[in-house]
Symmetry: C2
Subunit: 229 residues, 2 copies
Amino acid sequence: MHAEPRLIEVRKNVLKQNDVVARSLRDRFRAAGVFVVSLVSSPGSGKTAFLEKILTLLRSNYRVAALVGDLATENDALRLARSKAPVRQITTGTLCHLEAAMVQNALEEEEWDINRLDFLFIENVGNLVCPSSYDLGEDLRIVLISVTEGEDKPLKYPTIFNSADVAVVTKIDLAAAVEFSWETAYKNIQSVRPGMQVFKLSAKTGEGMEEQLNFLGARLSQLRQSAVV
Amino acid sequence: MHAEPRLIEVRKNVLKQNDVVARSLRDRFRAAGVFVVSLVSSPGSGKTAFLEKILTLLRSNYRVAALVGDLATENDALRLARSKAPVRQITTGTLCHLEAAMVQNALEEEEWDINRLDFLFIENVGNLVCPSSYDLGEDLRIVLISVTEGEDKPLKYPTIFNSADVAVVTKIDLAAAVEFSWETAYKNIQSVRPGMQVFKLSAKTGEGMEEQLNFLGARLSQLRQSAVV
């Protein structure tokens, strides 16, 4: 069992290379004036439902597009096509996370001009561990956690909460049915990431979506203003 | 970006070493006459709730113990202590799966005599990707999926369904609230793993637990009979 140090060394190289690609992506996004949001969560937390809703709502006022990562299927891209926003699927095979180079390749193969976008969303593979170490050049990383998963997830997966910028509690319409405690969940998030902004919403009922829209709109304005100065 | 072939090669070595340890664990389990069940699922699917319930129920007639894998916390071991069964936590740090060597080490550090056990449960880290490649020497691998995660999970994570022996649909008491379709979920499981036996249950209401107890009891009897012959 002496392979572990070698594995760690190779992993470090992969991460370093990923950071280089992520940096160049970030420069490109910044130059294009597009605000890039990535979504991480465990499988079934409602990333795709959230994305379908937010793309549909944002489309009234903004130019939006999405890249969605998945091991095997193109189901998410088909679901998201209902939002009428341009969506491209990235299939990762057996890899448990997206890497910056996959985002780069997807953008090259796609005919989108990112200069014509306001928001680009990147939905990562459903996984609360692997995506945390891979920078994708995004401006904002949102970690989603559904009320059905239990309030202890931030304590059990602290790294992903630390790598994210804001947290979104999803499926809030089911909170009573699963006896979800907002106070406990909020306290647990704050204990692993003090000061983290936490939203709650339901893509199904629409509760909390307007607040989310306003938040993202404000972040885009900030980005544009900082670019002007 | 030339590190990937090296990474794959090192990964193959790690997997090969894992298989060697898993084989020796399996021999040891077989010699001890203990039936070993591992649980895999995404975070929040209800592995720990299922385990607490099944340990409590099995304890009336069998000698049981559990190993539980987690990145950071010992919460699961504390929750499972309520079942009054001996439970040991394995903390994996940032690793997204258990490895056979971790199981081996945990058994060595622990004073349990596996020769005195009927069932040993191993709860893997909550992850639908990484655990699929790591044999832990178990007799039965159960993949759990909750009704709240959506029926498409088998299609999106086919490898883990292929590496598992049976599937358990959890939180069936919430099926109506989330408009879960048993037919669709069952069909999706069968399409990635034809013939797979699928159970449904609720650790909360107890629905389906007796069927699960009978199934595990029968599998233990089979194991003991095959050892006699």
